[in-house]
């Protein structure tokens, strides 16, 4: 089966006052459609950097990333953004909801931006599905951390992505809330066709994925 995402020999260095600091030194990865892959690793090991490269938010120094069969290195920034809008969705550690929009409007935002049909109704359905039907007109500051992250999940899955990137989605939540959010995440992922690349510290969360890869010494093991 053709992978939805593949990375070949990705390297990335950052310039520091002490000289170049290699973060990734040759990462290879392939994610099949519908597959859930967890990436674990110590703090500073480069998990978020890798996620940025895989999503086309950052450029590797060497190597290539193919998303949906398209080599990202051959695309300019706007073409990469268009590809992301068609194939991917994001769940962030810090939720990143817009303060001025209600829960429903936050979910509808990408649908509206990308010209999807019936954004409001779709958003309402997803919030209902995540148990936030009563909270759809609340602003982020009126929601708990768990509720905000569930709005984040609704925003991501409402796009019906082929690939979901989740960057430590439970790191800002307590254990009980985290469990609820993770249950929702895997439930939605399994009932969709979306593949998932999940970056996490939490082994119990990672173990629920199809594959667990550890980023160590700049490579995936």
């Amino acid at each position: 089966m053709t992978p939805i995402l593949s990375a070949t020999q990705l390297t990335r260095c950052f310039d520091t006052v002490a000289g170049p600091l290699p973060i990734l030194t040759g990462v290879d990865l392939a994610v099949a459609p519908g597959e859930a892959v967890a990436i674990v690793g110590a703090s500073g090991s480069g998990k978020s950097t890798l996620l940025g490269l895989l999503a086309g938010l950052d450029n590797p120094d060497h190597g290539s990333v193919e998303l949906g069969g398209r080599d990202l290195s051959n695309l300019d920034e706007d073409a990469r953004a268009a590809l992301r809008s068609r194939l991917t969705a994001f769940v962030f550690q810090a939720f990143h909801l817009l303060d001025d929009l209600t829960a429903e409007e936050n979910v509808a935002l990408p649908l509206e931006l990308f010209g999807r049909a019936a954004p409001q109704a779709t958003a309402a359905q997803w919030l209902e599905r995540l148990g936030l039907g009563e909270r759809r007109n609340h602003f982020p500051r009126q929601l708990s951390g768990g509720e905000q992250q569930r709005v984040g999940l609704a925003r991501a899955f409402a796009l019906e992505p082929a690939l979901l990137f989740a960057d430590e989605p439970t790191a800002n939540l307590d254990r009980s809330t985290a469990r609820t959010v993770v249950d929702s995440l895997f439930d939605l992922q399994q009932h969709s066709t979306a593949a998932m690349v999940l970056v996490t510290h939490d082994e119990s969360v990672a173990n629920r994925c199809d594959r667990v890869l550890e980023l160590r010494g700049g490579t995936l093991q």
Binding site: H96, L98, E112
Partner: protein, 816 residues
């Protein structure tokens, strides 16, 4: 506060200080304070300097501790005086080697000046000797004369024997703008002027003991002469000095308001950024007041440093401002006034204290646990601070302008703008909220974001609108004044005006004009008089409201007469004076100034006689140009028995020197004025004023730009974070950029629209109620301004969003 607490505050302030300074917003905040204090210092220094110069002129204006003034030569008993001199001043025509020009001629006796110094060719001098004449620089240029040349005045010739550089008792009003010539009193009769015609001004300059001066004063008043002393009554130059100070003060207030507004916008931003740090510090056990005081200390140091730098900049800039006032006002070198420096630094400290206090208090109230939950929210109570700031601004405007009406107009304008900004914010919110439902894609998202944040933008919008209003209304007033003067064209009565033609010389003058090819276009009889009383009440008692109106009313006026309403006049109310009716027709603006109504009784003093007439009509002027317009017009029989003088106009093209010199020689008393020259002088004064206004408007513009930058910077964090999130989920850079452009262009357009409307309302009210002048506007031209400002905002956004849109969105979100 214990020593340990103080150490804690100092350590914290020092530790965070450099971090704070690295923020762009804080640097901009410092720049705002520097600008505000620089303007305060520069205008303060200029005001002190101008005030000193004008005070010096006022002190020397009379040229003596006491002056007796009369329209004809007056004999006085001067026994017992310590010093005494006489002057006689006339406006006459003079012919130089190259040009003919009207001049202010002053003949002086030995002993002149009694007070102050006459400076000729860089040295203190006395009156010229023999047939010599001192000419000022303008007279030299106007007549094309140099030292050693001869000039013709009436029937006499004078040799230019030096350049007059300072004359203590120079005259005011029209004479003040004319080129100046001083001759010896003994040479005056040779010119051929009729000294008893009452058209000159004869002065005795007196110095002596109080007892002697009192005796002379009583004697002079008994003879009907005016007695002037430095402290007697409102003086034109004193009024000018006072107004200059107030005007500069008002501009300072406007600039300070704008800089203060920018500081408020940035202050909010800086403290909000500091809020998370404060929450963390409180979590680790730092007391709330230590957190607030540490920031306060940092800001106080920032304010002090910025204030001092601003004062220095102001001191360096003020010579540039002073240079635009010259040569109309000669300013002395001014040493730094500690009061001005204190004012500038005081502004810096007060601005920060006033605008930061509510936020610092709110900072102390951030819950200690907020850092744990991440829900750090700052809720400053700014209503009281806004009301206090508004109240202080209105009070300052009132004190500086001493004009309640003007204060009400400007204060009302600002208040109206604040209300309009909030209303428009609400309207944009609702309209955008509805519009976004029928749009798609980035436009839909952008419209909703704009709508949702519209009310939050009300403060920056109001600040920008006030900046636009302050700038535009000043520009409109300036432009309208310039148009008024530049729009003057020589029309109905020719390009030369002649006056002071004695009634019995009219026939001879007409024959002379015809022989010299002069085409006389108008000839108007006049009688010189003074308005003595209104409804039987003496002018000094009747007009106590404004000294200026009283001063004008006390000046000589020309009464005229005609059988019917002149062609360029229009009756607004009442009827034209009928023969034998004892009535007078009065010009509309004069009626307004003097508070007259139809049926009021006016008494004029003509020589030693009194003429009383009832106001029968209210009259206005039709069309532009320089046609004659008389304030008080009678039926011919009413003025038949009084000495007549004629004035009128003629056309003279090409080289005017020979015919004018011939008139000057044949009719020494007749004053010929080149209207183009006269308007040119007025225009040159207006140009100097324009340059001054431009310089001040430049300062206003700098302050307004500060506001714009402040609002842009204050919104940067929010926009960067939202933009990064949108890009992460797939929005292109173009989509994000277009959304921000839409929002910023809307804010800029809306704010400028409010500002333009506010400026027009304020300008119209000022024109109508302060200057009683008609006001017209070119709406299309001014409606282009909001479009331009909206575009400028979009451009600024384009520049500011360039770098963030190039960065990795994930990294921006991590930083956020």
């Amino acid at each position: 506060m214990s020593a340990q607490d103080s150490r804690q505050v100092l350590t914290l302030a020092r530790g965070l200080g450099f971090r704070l300074l690295r923020q762009r917003a804080v640097l901009l905040l410092a720049l705002c304070v520097v600008t505000g204090s620089a303007v305060t210092a520069a205008l303060g220094f200029l005001a002190v300097s101008a005030q000193d110069a004008l005070d010096r002129d006022v002190a020397q204006f009379l040229g003596a501790p006491m002056v007796v003034r009369s329209p004809r030569p007056l004999a006085l008993d001067v026994d017992g005086l310590e010093r005494h001199a006489q002057t006689a001043a006339f406006t006459v025509g003079a012919t130089g080697p190259e040009h003919y020009h009207s001049i202010a001629l002053k003949a002086v006796t030995a002993g002149y000046p009694v007070q102050g110094e006459l400076v000729v060719d860089g040295a203190v001098a006395g009156p010229p000797t023999g047939a010599g004449a001192w000419l000022d620089r303008r007279a030299m240029v106007s007549l094309g004369a140099s030292v050693g040349d001869e000039i013709q005045v009436g029937q006499a010739r004078f040799e230019v024997s030096g350049e007059l550089q300072f004359e203590p008792d120079r005259l005011t009003q029209l004479q003040h703008t004319l080129p100046r010539v001083i001759i010896r009193m003994e040479a005056l009769p040779g010119i051929g002027l009729d000294l008893d015609s009452g058209r000159g001004e004869f002065r005795h300059l007196l110095a002596g003991t109080d007892a002697v001066l009192d005796r002379v004063e009583a004697s002079a008043e008994a003879k009907g002469a005016d007695v002037l002393k430095p402290r007697s009554g409102a003086h034109p130059l004193a009024r000018m000095s006072e107004r200059a100070g107030r005007f500069l003060g008002m501009v300072s207030v406007l600039v300070l308001l704008l800089c203060g507004g920018a500081a408020a916008v940035l202050g909010d931003f800086v403290v909000r950024r500091y809020a998370a740090t404060a929450a963390v510090l409180r979590c680790v056990g730092v007391a709330r007041w230590v957190v607030a005081r540490a920031l306060l200390l940092q800001l106080a140091v920032l304010a002090l440093a910025s204030g001092l730098i601003g004062s220095l900049v102001g001191w360096l800039v003020q010579p540039l401002l002073a240079s635009v006032l010259e040569p109309h006002l000669i300013l002395d070198d001014t040493s730094p006034d500690p009061g001005v420096l204190l004012l500038a630094v005081g502004f810096a400290l007060l601005t920060l204290a006033a605008f930061f206090y509510p936020r610092l208090r709110a900072l102390g109230e951030v819950p200690a646990g907020a850092a744990l939950t991440g829900a750090v929210e700052l809720r400053p109570r700014t209503t009281l601070s806004l009301l206090s700031a508004g109240g202080c601004a209105v009070l300052m405007l009132w004190l500086l302008s001493d004009n309640l009406q003007l204060t009400a107009i400007l204060g009302g304008g600002v208040a109206g703008i604040v209300v309009a900004a909030w209303s428009l914010g609400w309207l944009i919110g609702n309209v955008a909220g509805q519009l976004h439902r029928i749009t798609r894609g980035w436009l839909r998202v952008g419209l909703r974001a704009t709508g949702r944040r519209a009310l939050r933008h009300a403060v920056p919008m109001a600040t920008i609108a006030v900046a636009v209003m302050a700038f535009l209304s000043t520009a409109m007033l300036r432009g309208a004044f310039l148009d008024t003067y530049h729009g003057q064209r020589v029309m109905h009565d020719g390009n030369y005006l002649f006056s002071r033609l004695a009634g019995n010389d009219v026939g001879r003058f007409e024959a002379h004009a015809a022989a010299n090819g002069l085409d006389i276009l108008g000839l108007y009889p006049t009688v010189r008089a003074h308005l003595a009383a209104i409804n039987g009440v003496l002018i000094d008692d009747a007009l106590t409201r404004e000294s200026e109106t009283r001063e004008e009313a006390r000046s000589p006026v020309r009464l005229s007469y005609a059988e019917a309403l002149p062609a360029n006049n229009e009756l607004f109310a009442g009827a034209w004076p009928e023969p034998g009716s004892g009535t007078v027709s009065v010009e509309a603006e004069v009626m307004t100034d003097l508070g007259l109504a139809l049926g009021d009784e006016l008494t004029f003093r003509i020589g030693d006689e009194r003429l009383t007439a009832t106001v029968s009509s209210r009259r206005g002027f039709v069309g532009g140009g320089s046609s004659m317009m008389f304030w008080f017009m009678f039926s011919p029989d009413a003025l038949a028995g009084y000495p007549q003088e004629y004035l009128g106009g003629f056309v003279l093209d090409g080289d005017a020197r020979a015919p004018l010199a011939a008139i000057s020689e044949a009719f020494p008393d007749v004053v010929v004025t080149d209207l183009e020259q006269h308007l040119g002088r007025v225009r040159s004064i207006m140009s100097a004023m324009t340059r001054t206004m431009n310089a001040l408007m430049g300062l206003l513009l700098v302050a307004a730009l500060m506001v714009v930058l402040a609002t842009a910077v204050a919104a940067t964090d929010d926009r960067r974070r939202i933009g990064a999130m949108l890009r992460a989920i797939g929005a292109s850079r173009g989509q994000v950029r277009r959304m921000w452009l839409l929002e910023q262009a809307t804010i800029g357009f809306a704010a400028a629209l409010i500002g333009v409307v506010g400026a027009h309302v304020v300008a119209e009210l000022i024109f109508r109620f302060q200057f009683a002048m008609p006001y017209t506007i070119d709406w299309l031209r001014y409606l282009a301004i909001p479009l331009a400002i909206g575009g400028a905002f979009a451009l600024l956004e384009q520049v500011m969003s360039h770098a963030p849109l190039r960065r990795s969105p994930l990294r921006i979100m991590q930083e956020a």
